[in-house]
Structure formats: C-alpha cells, structure tokens
Subunit: 367 residues, 3 copies
C-alpha cells in the first residue's frame, strides 16, 4: 500500500510529510513496533520520551505526535511521517489497514451437532464438533468456532464470534458484535453455598442468567457466572481480558476496560467507563464509581468515588498510596529515627533533672 493511501485512510491523521515532500511516497509493507522495527514498514512513537528512536529506526516511516521538532528530525533522515494528536490510535488504525484476520470456513460443518429447535440467522458459521443444544437462537453472521458448547435457551446476537472451546451456559443472552475468546465460560453457576449452621453448606441453586450487551469482549479462560436469581450483566462495549472472574450478580457498566486476572466477587457493581489495572480484586457488593481508575494489582474493599484514581492493597487514593507505600519502605529508617529521638528525650530528661536538682540545691543553699 502506498504511503499516500495510508495517510488518506487514517481518520486520526492531522498532518504528514507529503505536505513538504510529496515526492516521497514509498510502498509500505506493514506496521512494526518501535523497539522491533522492520525495514519497509511504518512504526510509531507515542511521545517525546521515545524521540531518540527517530535517529536510529530502520523503519521507513513513523507515526508521530503533533510535534514539529520530531517531525523535522524524521524528515531530515528521509523518513516519511504522519502526525497525529493520538499516535497510538493512528497506529492501531494503520494496522487494521493491513491485517487480514483468519477467516473460519463459512457454513455449518457437517460434524456440528445442532438441536433441531435452534433458530439460525443468515450466514451463520458453525465449526467442527461444535454442540448447540435446544432452544438456542443464533443471529445473522454468528461465527461459532470448533469445539464450542452452547447450552439450552441461549440467545446470541448478530456477528458475535465464539472462539474454540468456549462454553455458553443455559439462559445466557449475548448481544451483537461480541467476541468470546477460547476457553471462556459464560453463564456458569455462581458460587453460592449457605452455611447450615452445623459446619456444612447448602447449595443455593443458581436459577438466574447472564447478559452480555453489544460489543463486549471476553478473554480466554475467563468465567462470567450467573446468579441465584436475577442477572449478571456486562455493559455494552466493555472489554474483558483473560483469566478474569466475574462472580454471580455482578453488574459491569458500559465502556469498561478489565485486564487479565481481575476478580469480582458476588454483587460487585462497576459503573461505566471504569478502567482497572490487571489483577485487581473487587470485593463483594463494592460499588466502583463511574470512571474510576485503579492501578495494577489493587484490592478494592470499599466503594470508590466517581472519577477517582486508586491504588494499593487495600486501595486508597492514588496520591495517598504513593506517599504511604514510599513510607512503608522507609519504616526501618523511621524506626531508627524514633530510637534516636527517644535517646534525645532520655538525655533531655536526665539533663533537666540534673538542672532541677542543681537549682533546688542552689535554692537550698540560699535558704
């Protein structure tokens, strides 16, 4: 693809080297990372912090921030460049221009076992050895990869993709344009056991169901459980990574980003546009306010304010955590300081006592 075509097709591009060097319009073979540049490709630099890469890259061009100095530096090396207010987004858009995802075979594989009650939309693909049980609805263009199991009474919206080995449990409702990655389990039984009082546990049947709204992604080996009654719900456009646990009765809002190994205990409520660091834990019934950000590995045992940034285990406001965690490291030093202070106090006490004694004596002398 010609460089000029990329520039034209990138929505996020605001400027390019074509303005000053229209004659530089090479064929571009693809995209590459700035740390692993490949000749004949475009790479990208997020910010001035990485600008040294401009001088050494073997890529033939760069997506750059709107920074004239960086752009001139690239041009001086004969590189083509695209300027963007969001270079990472422009890079992602450019990858999409080149990338041709693997297309599974169209149609229904003869080994797929599909219950006669299944309602199939148009142009559905179902892979080898997939098993679709009774009363399932698959929308138009749904793509079921090999070895997937769909339990009864599931509805799956148009164009949703179920990758290999995932399991969709009974009564689950999945919206349009969702992606369920390999090995994920949606709508499995919540973990509900009630103490009988004699040290044993009574299983609470999980009669509820799970809902994924439109454009949700669920990562590999992630589980989204269904509750005893009512629903577990993941809001529209929320993206969930691998190995995540979404407990029964959790409500996740729209446009959230939940990286790998996050765990949400039963009844947690995550409002819209929450972005958590990987490995974060949210405790039972905790409400994570709209737009909250948590850094990697946080433990949220109490509600967070909308728009807050939290860190720590347990979590606290990020600024407090920065100070507290720095001081945890300095506790041995603080202890040392305290010991010295105690010595100083002891010395002061001794000297004061001596002084008082002297004064008493002097006064006694005077008497």
């Amino acid at each position: 693809m010609r460089f000029s075509e990329i520039v034209e097709r990138l929505g996020a591009a605001s400027a390019s080297s074509l303005e000053t060097h229209p004659e530089r319009d090479p064929e571009v073979g693809g995209m590459s990372a700035i740390e692993q540049p490949v000749a004949g490709t475009l790479s990208y630099i997020e910010s001035r912090k990485y600008r040294e890469f401009i001088d050494s890259t073997i890529a033939q061009g760069l997506i750059l921030p709107m920074d004239r100095e960086m752009q001139e530096r690239a041009a001086a090396r004969g590189l083509v460049w695209i300027g963007s207010c969001n270079p990472r987004l422009a890079f992602a858009e450019a990858i999409a221009l080149f990338y041709k995802p693997i297309q599974p075979e169209r149609g229904i594989h003869p080994t797929a076992i599909i219950h006669p009650s299944t309602k199939l939309g148009k142009e559905v693909s179902i892979g080898a050895y997939a098993v679709i049980q009774e009363d399932v609805v698959l929308g138009d263009g749904v793509c079921v990869h090999p070895l997937v199991v769909v339990y009864p009474q599931v509805a799956i919206g148009d164009r949703t993709i179920l990758y290999a080995q995932c399991v969709i449990h009974e009564r689950t409702q999945i919206g349009q344009d969702c992606v369920i990655h390999s090995g994920a389990t949606i709508g499995s039984e919540g973990f509900g056991f009630v103490p009988r009082g004699d040290g044993t546990w009574f299983k609470m049947e999980q009669s509820g169901y799970t809902v994924l709204e439109d454009e949700v992604e669920i990562g590999c080996n992630t589980a989204v459980d269904r509750p005893a009654v009512g629903e577990t719900r993941i809001g529209a456009r929320t993206k969930i990574d691998n190995g995540v646990q979404i407990g029964h009765d959790v409500k996740v809002g729209a446009d959230c980003i939940l990286p790998a190994h996050i765990g949400m205990a039963g009844g947690a409520k995550i409002e819209d546009q929450v972005v958590l660091g990987g490995r974060t834990v949210v405790s039972n019934r905790v409400v994570v306010g709209r737009g909250t950000r948590a850094t990697i590995g946080s433990l949220l045992i109490s509600d967070t304010e909308p728009g807050s940034i939290v860190s720590g285990y347990p979590a606290m406001p990020h600024q407090s955590w920065l100070r507290s965690s720095a001081l945890v490291r300095r506790l041995p030093e603080m202890q040392q300081t305290m010991k010295q202070m105690q010595k100083q106090i002891d010395t002061l006490q001794a000297e004061l006592a001596r002084l008082q004694g002297q004064q008493g004596q002097e006064r006694g002398d005077e008497v």
Copy 2:
C-alpha cells in the same frame, strides 16, 4: 406454587404470616433478589440493616429474620412473610422449590468415544464428542457433558456431573455426587522441576494421583494437580470456585469453602471447615488450621491457628491487620508527627542548653 405450600416445605421456616393472616395465600411465581424485586415473587432480607426495603418492595412476600417489628411492617403493607432464623438458607431452599435445572439428554450419545474397557454404571449419560479412555469406571447415574475428556484409569462415583470441556487426567479418583464445572482440569501434572545446579531444570515425573472425596465441587477452569508421588486430596463436601489452583500434594480437608482465584502452592495443608476469601494464596507446605477464616486477597505464608481469623498480605490476625492497615494509610501523618516531635526536641535541647549556659554563667558570676 401457593405460599402455604412454600411455608410447609421450607425446613428452615419458623413462623409465617399465615398465623395471623391465613386468608393471604397467593400464588407465588418464583424468587427474586431484594435489590431487583419482581412482582409476584418472594424475596428475602438478611438482617435489620436492609429493613427499609420492606416499605418499597414490589415483591409480594418476604423471607425475614425472626424480628417481630420487621414482620409486622411487612404485614402492614399486605405482604406475606416467612420468618426464619437463617433467612438466607430459607431463601436458598425456596429457590430449590422452583428451579428446574437443565437436564442433559439421557443415555450415551452416539458420537461419544468410549473405550471398550470402560465399566459403566446404570443410567449413565455421556454427551456428544466426549472421550473416555481405557480402564475408566463410571458409577451409576454419572453425567458426562459434551466434549469432556477422561484419561485412563479414572474412577468416578455415582451421580457425579462433569460439565462441558472439563478434563480428568489419568488415575484420578472422584467420589459420589461431585460436580466438576466447565473447563476444569483434575489430576493434571504437578509443577515439579528440580534445579540441576547448572541453571537448568530436571522434570520430576508426576507419578501420583488426585482424589476428590464425595460431594466436592470444582469451579470452571480450576486445576487440581497430581503430585510426584502419593496423592493430592480434596476432602468431602468441600466447594471450590472458578480459576483456583490446587498444587501438587495439597491436602484440603472436609467442608471447606474456597472461592475464586485462590492458589495453593505445593504441599499446603488445609484442615476441615476452612473458609478463605477469594484470591487468597497459601504458600508451600503452610498448614491452615481447622476452621480458619481468611479475608479476601490474603497471603498465607505461615501456619494459622485453628479457629483464627486472618487478613493481610502477608496475613496476620485480623484485628492486628485492621489496626496496621489503618496505620499504613496514616504513615504520612505519622511521619509529619515525627518531624514535629523532632523540632520540639531540637527546641528543647536549644533551650536547655541556653538555660544550662545561663545557670553556668550565673554560677560563674557568683563565684
């Protein structure tokens, strides 16, 4: 189902509105959560903390604690109610009255591949594309869902359910009435590598096996490894949630509750009736004493006393953790206090020196 029938069938019910209002005996359509009440259903309230819900619920009845005020408040709104010393247990029992779990097709699916050496009990169900290898014993009423793999020399007790995509590795022994959820792996190889001393690792063969006693549940994508020699064992009636790791040679006692994302390193020993919070880690060979409780996200690197409650990362007695973790947040304040104390000490020293100097001078004067 009539309200009066529910009252009659609930073992845990101690009282009900039928005593004072026998004429109120509506048809009940099911159960619902107090935060998501559904008209025509019963809901439940665990404790006085949630009693405000009585005034606004659209449910037609409530399971309540043995609290006369709450019961009268419900009756005053025309609601039917059931009183119980354990409302949550009564709620769970009531759900079970209504819930009809999905029943897999009976019998052996023609696509299931079953080694001729398999010993099948009565009324065994085996789903599509399940694979049962040699020398496996399946007890009466065992239910193997689609796409399950059972490796050789496995024994599975009566009425145990294996959900879709789970894998039972060689030599595993599973008791009666167990439930293995989708994607779980039982009896997989323990992680055993011995340093050779030259920076490389020798694989220790995992020749042992895994035992699940009766009525054990194992969650989705959980792994229970087998050891190099001997056995990994999960005690009767212990319930394990999703994404848990049980390392080689771990012994878990009876009636334990182990929520999602718990990890147990090799050789850990969990005694009976232990209840851990989700995401807890137990280090190698640590012994968790009978009845220990750990709060969410704890790290147990040393043994716990029977009956203890622990928290923290690493864990300590819960009461200590409450104090310590509150003080971690207040470290910046403590540091500030120390600085002020240091200033006060410095001032005291200076003033004392001045005083000593004056006194010396005065005495000098006197001399």
Copy 3:
C-alpha cells in the same frame, strides 16, 4: 527393580549403603514421599531438618544428603540408603526409573479433522475430535491429544505434546519437545484497546504471533497472547505453570520457572534464569533482570537488578521487605511509642517552662 540397579542408574548418586552392606539389596517397588511413606519403596530426605523421619519411616530405604550421621542412622535401622549432594534431584531421577507415563494411542484417530494442507512429520499421533486447520506443520512424533484445536499457519516442532482441550491460535510457532497442558491457549489475541478520547475504545488488531522455543512447558488454562505487531516469545526450557497470563509482546528468556497464577502485563521482559514465586505480577514493560528471584505473590512495578531477590507488593529487595513487613505489623506499637514520646516531650516542655519561669523569677528577685 533391585536396589543395586537403582544405585547404578542414578547419575546423582555419590554413595550408598551397598558399600558397607552389599548383602542388603532388596526389590524396590517404587518411590514415596517421606510424609506418606509406603512399605517396600524408597523415600528421600532433603536435609538434616527432616532427619527425625529416619527413625520412624516404614519405607525400606532413603535417599539422603551426604551426611554420615544420617546415613549411619538409616543403616542402623536396617534401611538401605543412597547418598547424594542433591537428594531431591536423585529422587526425581529415581521416580523416572519407575514411572511409565500413559501413552496415547499411536496414529491418527479417524475422527480427527485434518486440513489437507497439513504437513505431518513421521509418527505423529492425533487424538479423537482434534481439529487441525490449514497450513499447519506438525514435526516428527508430535502428539496431539483429543479435542485440541490448532488454528491456521501454526508450526509445531518434533515430539511436542498438546494435551486435551488446548488451543493453538493462528501463526504460533512452537519448538521441539514442548509440552502444552490441558486447556492452555497459545497465541490468542492480545488485549489491545486504544482510547478514542470520547470514552470509547478502538480495538487494535493483534497481527503478531507467539513463539515458544524448544522444551518449553505451558500449564493448564494458561494463556500466552500474541501482540499487535512483532512477537511474544518464551525462551528455551522455560517452564510455566497453570493459570498464568503472558500478555502481548512479553519476552521471557531461557530457563525461567514461572509457577501458577503469575501474570505478565504487555511488554514485560523477563531475562534468562528468572525464578518467580507463584501469583507474582509483572507490570507493563518492566524488565526483570537475569536470575532475579521473587517470592510468592510479589508485585513488580519497576525493573529488577540481575541476580536480585525481591519481595513485597510492590516489590523491594527481600531484606528490606523482611524489615518493612515486620514493622508494618508493629505499626500500632510504633504509634503507641510515638504517643508516649509526645507525652514525654510535653512534660519536658512544661518542666522546662517552669524552670525558665523560676529562673526568670529568681533573677528578677535578684534584680
């Protein structure tokens, strides 16, 4: 197997009871753990710490450290023994003498679906209901267990084993003698979403691929993602346990040991011979220096020095962590000490003021 044969075949054995008691050469039935000894077997004792077991074991022999006292104590009880500088390694070697792993059926199962473009090496085994898609290369002796899915353009080296239910995604390259355990997912899409700036997220296509070098092991339900561009790479002989997350663009070196539930965020770099404790998290782009060791449950948010030992959440040098974490427990005590110091200071100030007042008065008197 005769005891003498075991002694002969153990590379790590340096001495044995045959030297002093050649007549004691029993038939050995297998190996057992020292805490669960089995009659007729050999067990092992790692160090003097466990030497009391010598006096009570029902095993007929022991692998012991090079410790004359322990060896004589065993001989005095009539036990046979093998002395080794690395008893654990000798034990592992001895297990391998006895253990006969389950052998999957040879050949291609008739239900396996293999795309005609597949290049098969010699003596490949492919189990029931496995699905191999287009343009896949399987080396000599590759063993694919039942219900495995291999996506297009994957290459798998000689003798590599793929256990049941694992999924190998498009373009993945797996070396020779690797082991992929049940339910693992290799080469799945990295988690890449770029903020558009309006609260929504643009999916970055993951056009890269994943490489596992020779002799890598990947545990059950572990995921190794592929990146947007370039590669995710696991170095030769590195062993990864269950439930681990390796994010997109991560580079792991050779001979690393990564136990269960470890998580590595995008772009992390783990150098050779790193040994992390289970449940450790490595943050985005962090570089873990060659030979670093981290204790269980650490959080690495900054680079580590080669050869360092780190602990904590977030991690710090292990020695600092020992001191700091001990002091965290003692914070209530430190706070108490501070309060007492403050009282002492207050008293000192009061007494000093009184003294100054007296002195002023006295001097005033004198005037």
